[in-house]
Symmetry: C2
DNA sequence: ATAGTAGTTGAAAGGTTGTTCAACCAATCA
DNA sequence: TGATTGGTTGAACAACCTTTCAACTACTAT
């Protein structure tokens, strides 16, 4: 099923058909936008961006991170799980301690673009 | 009240005090992370990123956008309000028609960084 | 004037999300 | 072996978010 077959139902008429047709060719599949939104959703929480920014400075264990940002181990662990499942952080185990670090530099890039914007 | 006075209560001990102290100096105020997360929250919805990506191609009115992405005028208008209030889009009125466009190039930058990541 | 259209808005409904709490696992140490 | 510690997990609750629906404004045209 192609993108062209998506339901065009809408409660109004096209006003500028030429513009809409030109733009439609440049658009991606709806799924792409949902995936993109899912990525930004990970960055859409204060605790998580704080964790990511902390991990930019180097690897840290759960307790260190919890003390650093003033949250419980449990809350941090839950958020790290989210970050882990999105492949934004990686980790290594050493005895009972788990050290987390950023998965790749894309993460920093996105954080920095965001900071750039809010600082104008 | 300075950032240093934030409650350090936590349900665990600092394990690597030197690391934590070094990282703490690099951290921003908690409010900065909340603001950053608030920005990413705007990008954290499929409909909104679709609207933003559509507006990268040029200005469009509400009906055009609604038909283009297959949503109701109302849903689009609600999301455009969110984008407007975050200063991510601007608009101009012409008779009863309202034309929306991107507020600045930061928006495209952030979208592109996101696409880069999901496409690896 | 009256009808129709572009757009906005508030409330309601359904879904998602973040933290807390308690229980749990696994590794260390006494 | 038994106690402690670092870390994870599931359930529950509250808060938030997105769409829909219906009502509404404002402009245009007949």
């Amino acid at each position: 099923m192609s993108e062209q077959e998506k339901p065009l139902f809408c409660d109004c008429d096209v006003i500028h058909e030429d513009v809409v047709n030109r733009v439609r060719e440049k658009m991606y599949e709806k799924e792409q936008y949902i995936d993109l939104a899912a990525l930004f959703k990970i960055f859409a929480d204060g605790t998580r961006v704080q964790l990511l920014h902390a991990l930019e400075q180097g690897e840290m264990c759960v307790c260190d991170l919890a003390v650093l940002i003033g949250a419980t181990k449990s809350a941090v662990s839950h958020q790290l799980k989210t970050l882990r499942m999105s492949n934004l952080v990686k980790f290594r185990k050493e005895a009972q301690t788990v050290f987390y670090s950023l998965a790749d530099s894309h993460v920093e890039d996105i954080l920095n673009k965001g900071f750039e914007h809010i600082w104008e």
